[in-house]
């Protein structure tokens, strides 16, 4: 269980997160949606402990950070480090003595190549593989499907299902609603730094329709497309 109490975050005068109170029970898959700049990534970074913030983030784990795998929106890598060496670094960081990465390379990544030369999708897959090898209890996946090919999208969906079946807690953000509605137990809508709606599976359709209406409305009529 991750419990967020009174979480607020500001950058200078701009308040990005406003007094957020939310709970993520263990073993669930939770989707976070919101417009660009709504504060999703900041929210994730606060949970991970990568940002200073007001309020508390509580967990029943002894040290949440040490059992948390965080896939960032745009993972970046040190220069002149191969994929294999990156995975080794992530394992060493968690005292995991594992280097049989070729066998576990489900995305068929060229692990002998420098990670910085990977494409966007390959970088994302490498970063995801890294946090999976760490055997974390909680996963934060910030736009895991972004820039990834269809084949890998299917694999990532199956990975999320597998994590859920193993009792892991997964938080995902995505701009593609279907990727969330297919995987999540609850979807939370973040708007202007606040969670304004939480929907279970039976409300997903309604949430999607509402968002479509809000985003598109009659605006396409202005384009005069014929």
């Amino acid at each position: 269980m991750i419990s967020i109490k009174g979480l607020s975050k500001s950058y200078g005068n701009k308040q990005v997160l406003k007094d957020i109170n939310l709970e993520f029970p263990k073993g669930g898959v939770y989707g976070i949606i919101g417009e660009n700049g709504s504060g999703k990534s900041t929210f994730f970074r606060c949970i991970a402990g990568l940002e200073n913030h007001e309020g508390a983030i509580l967990s029943d784990l002894p040290n949440l950070k040490n059992e948390l795998g965080f896939l960032q929106t745009n993972p970046d890598f040190m220069s002149r480090i191969t994929g294999w060496e990156y995975l080794k670094l992530l394992c060493i960081a968690r005292d995991i003595n594992d280097d049989d990465f070729e066998r576990q390379n489900i995305f068929d990544l060229p692990l002998a190549q420098y990670a910085e030369t990977y494409s966007t999708g390959m970088k994302k897959k490498l970063a995801l593989l890294g946090i999976l090898l760490q055997h974390n209890e909680v996963f934060i996946l910030d736009e895991p499907f972004n820039g990834v090919d269809i084949h890998s999208n299917i694999i990532i969906t199956e990975i999320i299902r597998k994590l859920k079946s193993c009792g892991k807690t997964v938080l995902i953000s995505s701009h593609i609603f279907s990727t969330l509605s297919d995987n999540c137990d609850v979807i939370h809508l973040l708007k202007d730094g606040k969670f304004v709606k939480s929907a279970g599976p039976d409300e997903f359709e309604q949430l999607n329709a509402g968002m479509r209406e809000f985003a598109v409305g009659n605006s396409l009529d202005r384009l005069n497309i014929r």
């Binding site: 991970a48 990568l50 059992e67 990156y86």
Partner: protein
């Protein structure tokens, strides 16, 4: 005047102000046109301004800063030539690597996209020669004409070298299981390490003990450079250790990897110069201590680069090593303070 210097440095997209500079654009239209040469001149003037800016940002007035750098260059050169017979080799190699640095793909891709092909090569050749000039002049002063000519001649074809081409392939290192500083650092300073090893062999060949010790110290200096730049906070955050444990891991990795790199040189020197084993092992130990202090210094400023007081403190230790006894605990406490918010 658009900020071409920042443009080149950052490798960002062309700024609007720059793109709309009609004079600049007109100069690019015709290779060899007077405007084109003006722009090439502007390029070098702006490079000079970049140096000025960097000195100013570091709190040093440009004029005495450049003067001081010149004096230091001559003083170090004189010292080097007075200490070892192979100084001309060291000098030529140093010049070579400094020129090679200018072949960095990121900056050159940008220059290529701005200048016509011929102008690009003209700029690169001039740039290389200007950079090599202090080394060439000092080599001429020391009457090592062959080296001076060699360095001059090599600086011209090096203009065509794009260093990304050199690291497209993965350079193997013995540090595969100890990511990441020594892996990345060794790949970046690959040529310099080869040069240090060459100097070791040369010292054995000519039975020059000072050169041998210099090569060992050089290896340690190279490894210190691996810790100049801080990694992103994420790569510290991933560790399931407190600040103390994290620093212990980083220091032990640094010691293991530096041993892998230097022990073959140490053993060779001890075998060839058995009467100087205490000095050789002393240099090795000093290398370890400086490396430890460098690791601590890096994280004492984390997530930023070392600031001037820290750099001054570290430089002080290079000149007066006993100061490490005071500086190491200071860096350690500061590093713990800096790392705690990320790791706990």
């Amino acid at each position: 005047m658009p900020d071409f210097a920042d443009f080149v440095e950052k490798g960002d997209e062309k700024p609007a102000s720059f793109a709309s500079d009609d004079n600049f654009a007109a100069g690019l239209l015709k290779t060899g046109s007077p405007k084109c040469y003006m722009n090439m001149k502007n390029y070098f003037v702006l490079q000079f301004r970049r140096i000025e800016r960097k000195l100013t940002e570091a709190g040093i007035h440009p004029f005495p800063g450049i003067l001081l750098a010149g004096v230091a260059f001559v003083a170090i050169s004189a010292y080097l030539f007075s200490r070892t017979a192979a100084a001309d080799w060291i000098y030529a190699l140093l010049g070579f690597f400094v020129i090679l640095k200018l072949g960095d793909a990121n900056r050159n891709d940008l220059l290529r996209s701005i200048f016509k092909r011929k102008d690009y090569y003209l700029i690169r050749v001039q740039e290389n020669i200007i950079t090599a000039l202090p080394f060439i002049l000092y080599l001429v002063y020391e009457r090592t004409y062959l080296m001076a000519t060699g360095l001059f001649l090599i600086s011209i074809p090096l203009a065509a070298i794009n260093t990304r081409q050199l690291w497209r392939f993965t350079i193997p290192t013995p540090f595969r299981k100890f990511p990441f500083e020594f892996i990345a650092g060794t790949r970046k300073a690959f040529w310099l390490i080869l040069a240090a090893c060459f100097l070791t062999l040369k010292s054995i060949q000519v039975e020059n003990f000072n050169l041998g010790v210099f090569s060992l110290a050089l290896l340690f200096f190279i490894t210190l450079s691996y810790y100049f730049k801080p990694e992103r906070a994420y790569f510290v955050w991933i560790y399931s250790a407190n600040a103390k444990g994290f620093l212990r891991k980083k220091i032990s990795t640094a010691l293991i990897c530096s041993s892998i790199l230097t022990i073959p040189v140490l053993v060779m020197l001890c075998m060839v110069f058995p009467e100087n084993i205490p000095i050789i092992t002393g240099v090795q130990m000093a290398g370890y201590i400086f490396l430890i202090s460098m690791v601590l210094a890096k994280y004492s400023a984390f997530p930023y680069e070392m600031n001037i007081p820290q750099a001054v403190l570290y430089s002080l230790c290079l000149w007066f090593p006993p100061a490490l006894l005071i500086v190491i605990p200071i860096f350690f406490v500061q590093a713990q303070k800096r790392l705690n918010p990320i790791l706990e």
